[in-house]
């Protein structure tokens, strides 16, 4: 029997009342909990593939089976409710034997080339097989031979690695309401793919990568650009190219996890040093471009509000959301802000402002983006921005890059972002979490509307992990209703209301991923939602520490407008910092 040490606290008003015994330990569970949930809350881990706390329970993989006294068969703990007096064993001999059989059957027709798999050392099938010491596979299975799908610029599919847990299908269909992929065929031929044999690039996929972070194995992975990038980098001495990198706001709050640090450890300084050691000449901060996005967006919003023009206005930092809108809400595109995303703004400034200032030919710059997101790989290929950015690497890829250079990340000293595109405000910092863009925009819009330098900078109501967060704010005689939305399923509801002419809002932030960019498709996989809380907390702490909390007070932003861009929302600003949207077809 082991002692109860740590216990995850899920705050509920009522007390748990159902008494059961798990592994000889008395446990109190809530009426509506399953055995899996009660165990997990008491830090008893049960291996699982198909279960995910935010997805519909399907009980398909049977890895989470447990022994319940008085029941003949083993029960899938993810779908068995707790009962008063239940006696449960999560790791009995029978249970372990059953799990070993499941693993052996999976391994028997699995393309087991771990060293060449992108999920190597980060794979649940591998992890559980190691835990349960599967040293021999007693079944001989026929191997599947399905073609790989590398058509998408964001995501690669390798069906022969799929264990058919269906998490990708549920996140894509139920959470994002995109339905790009589904289970097709039956039995041995069952597969996860887009309908009618189409490739992913032709499907309705909006590149969010939520299927990638949720895939327990190497069947869905990001479309990596590391090799091409390194090829170009090692030629540096010959080609004399100038290597520039920008780092998105959320990366500093998540990268540490991939080097064994606890969630929420800020690694900004080490991150910058690592990028210099890799060989970049300039390390710029996308936070600064986030400040510019805010200045432009707030200007646009104030104008629209005063003229009651195409309200609500919707933020456009998330390329997955933009494609979603362009596919499913073509008739409502005028609600989208015309501002480019911070990523695209920094890229535009590197090729123009920075190149001129530095005296380098814009064509001699190799620009790499470190992004939390597979959809950014799609964004840089949009015709409106084509050529500005050479490579997008996700957080996961960045960790691989650092490892490839054998850099001891943990021991690196701190260093700072380079000028002139390295100074940011607290408003730019919080862009990486859901509600952050809204909060940053309100800080600036409120000052613009009142003409004052307001003390209030924090808008707690738009923080948190709810998929819809609302607030009503009175500024200079305007009653402004705002919403911060995460996941595209929630966005679809909001857009349906707009279409029906009954949306109560003036200003809406939409991010495709749960938690915002800190939960993006290129981020390290989540152990649970507490990780998101830690990541968001790291960004909020950074915000509080900053000298400037508002984007339009950032001296670097003001300097760039004075020196180069001109007026907020002016003609040159529109040319460099804004964009257009158009209908996107899909099968």
């Amino acid at each position: 029997m082991f002692k109860k040490k740590r216990c995850k606290v899920k705050f509920r008003k009522e007390k748990p009342t159902v008494k059961l015994v798990i592994n000889g330990m008395e446990i109190l569970a809530y009426q509506d909990e399953t055995i899996f949930q009660a165990a997990e809350r008491n830090c008893i881990n049960i291996p699982h593939f198909c279960y995910h706390p935010r997805l519909k329970v399907v009980g398909a993989c049977r890895m989470c089976v447990v022994e319940v006294e008085g029941r003949r068969n083993l029960e899938a703990s993810c779908s068995t409710p707790v009962k008063e007096g239940q006696v449960v064993y999560t790791h009995s001999e029978r249970v372990i034997e059953a799990r070993r059989t499941i693993l052996e059957l999976l391994l028997a027709n699995h393309d087991l080339n771990c060293p060449t798999c992108k999920k190597n050392l980060n794979c649940k099938l591998q992890e559980y097989s190691t835990d349960l010491m599967i040293d021999e596979i007693s079944y001989v299975g026929e191997m599947r031979h399905n073609p790989k799908d590398h058509s998408s610029v964001s995501i690669q599919r390798d069906p022969d690695k799929c264990i058919l847990c269906g998490r990708c299908v549920r996140v894509c269909g139920d959470v994002q309401t995109v339905h790009a992929i589904g289970q097709v065929n039956r039995g041995f031929y069952m597969n996860v793919e887009p309908p009618f044999k189409h490739e992913l690039s032709e499907s309705s996929c909006i590149n969010c990568g939520q299927c990638v972070v949720n895939c327990p194995v190497g069947a869905l992975t990001e479309h990596s650009s590391i090799h091409e990038f390194i090829k170009e980098l090692v030629d540096k001495s010959k080609t004399k190219k100038h290597f520039v990198v920008q780092v998105a706001p959320s990366i500093r709050a998540t990268l540490g996890e991939l080097f064994g640090m606890p969630a929420g450890t800020p690694v900004t300084g080490k991150l910058v040093t690592a990028l210099r050691e890799v060989g970049f000449d300039m390390v710029f901060d996308t936070d600064l471009a986030a400040d510019i996005t805010i200045v432009e967006e707030a200007t646009e919003f104030v104008k629209r509000l005063k003229n009651n023009d195409n309200l609500p206005m919707i933020t456009t930092c998330c390329p997955a959301w933009i494609k979603f809108g362009e596919q499913f809400f073509i008739d409502e595109l005028e609600h989208m802000s015309s501002c480019r995303s911070p990523q695209a703004i920094l890229a535009s400034l590197v090729r123009t402002y920075y190149a001129e200032k530095k005296g380098v030919d814009a064509d001699d710059i190799v620009l790499v983006d470190i992004m939390p997101c597979t959809a950014k790989k799609y964004e840089i290929q949009r015709p409106e921005f084509a050529g500005d950015v050479d490579y997008v690497l996700t957080t996961v890829e960045l960790a691989k890059l650092i490892k490839q250079f054998n850099i001891d990340f943990e021991d690196l000293p701190d260093s700072e972002f380079d000028n002139p595109l390295g100074i940011s405000s607290g408003a730019g910092a919080i862009f990486g979490r859901s509600g952050g863009v809204m909060e940053a925009a309100l800080r600036t819009a409120a000052d613009f509307l009142t003409g004052k330098d307001l003390k209030k900078v924090e808008y707690e109501k738009v923080r948190g992990l709810e998929t819809l967060k609302e607030a009503e704010i009175n500024i200079a005689g305007h009653k402004i209703k705002v919403a911060a939305v995460q996941t595209l399923g929630e966005a679809r509801k909001i857009m349906d209301d707009i279409r029906a002419g009954k949306s109560p809002y003036h200003f809406i932030e939409i991010m495709a991923c749960y938690g915002g960019c800190i939960g993006g498709g290129g981020q390290p996989p989540l152990k649970d939602d507490d990780v998101l809380v830690e990541r968001a907390g790291a960004l909020n702490k950074q915000d509080v520490k900053m000298k400037y909390r508002k984007s339009h007070k950032n001296p670097a932003v003001l300097e760039i407008y004075k020196e180069y861009v001109g007026e907020f929302g002016g003609e040159k600003a529109h040319k460099l910092l804004h964009t257009k949207y158009s209908k996107k077809d899909y099968i």
């Binding site: 269909g173 339905h179 589904g182 289970q183 097709v184 039956r186 887009p194 309908p195 009618f196 099968i587």
Partner: protein, 152 residues
């Protein structure tokens, strides 16, 4: 939406029963056509992947339009020992299709079947109801060639 599709839509706009919709599509068009599926998917708010998932789950659904002539090549035991495999290969090469495929001119579909009950004349095939027995590779090709010419 064309008339045929409109009829299916009207019939199912309340129940939105995927299996029934697919059955109606198949009996109307002879197979489950992609374009029509998409139209219904949008109109009835059923996702394409769900429709396709169901259509590929049950073997009753055909995902390709059948050719004007369906060549059912027998793969029963008697035909098998009499080298029906080789005839399948020969026809595949001649028609330029794979098993269950349809030629690009929409004329022929080549399907292997379990037994057509013509064991005495093995190896045998059936084309739109007519049985041809005692086949060789050359004979099978000859028969198909004739039908093709006769169709012009």
């Amino acid at each position: 939406m064309d008339k045929k599709l409109q009829k299916i839509f009207d019939k199912h706009k309340e129940d939105r029963n995927t299996v029934a919709i697919l059955q109606d599509l198949q009996s109307e068009y002879g197979y489950v056509p992609e374009k029509e599926c998409k139209e219904l998917s949008l109109a009835l708010d059923i996702s394409m992947v769900d429709m396709f998932g169901v259509a590929t789950f049950y073997s009753q659904f055909k995902l390709e339009k059948e050719g004007k002539y369906v060549i059912s090549l027998c793969r029963g035991t008697a035909c098998h020992v009499n080298k029906s495999e080789s005839i399948m290969k020969a026809l595949e090469t001649f028609l330029g299709v794979q098993e269950c495929g349809t030629t690009s001119d929409g004329l022929f579909t080549l399907v292997p079947v379990n037994c057509i009950g013509a064991c005495a004349r093995a190896p045998a095939m059936m084309i739109n109801g007519t049985v041809y027995g005692s086949l060789t590779d050359e004979k099978a090709i000859e028969i198909v060639k004739k039908i093709k010419e006769g169709d012009k």
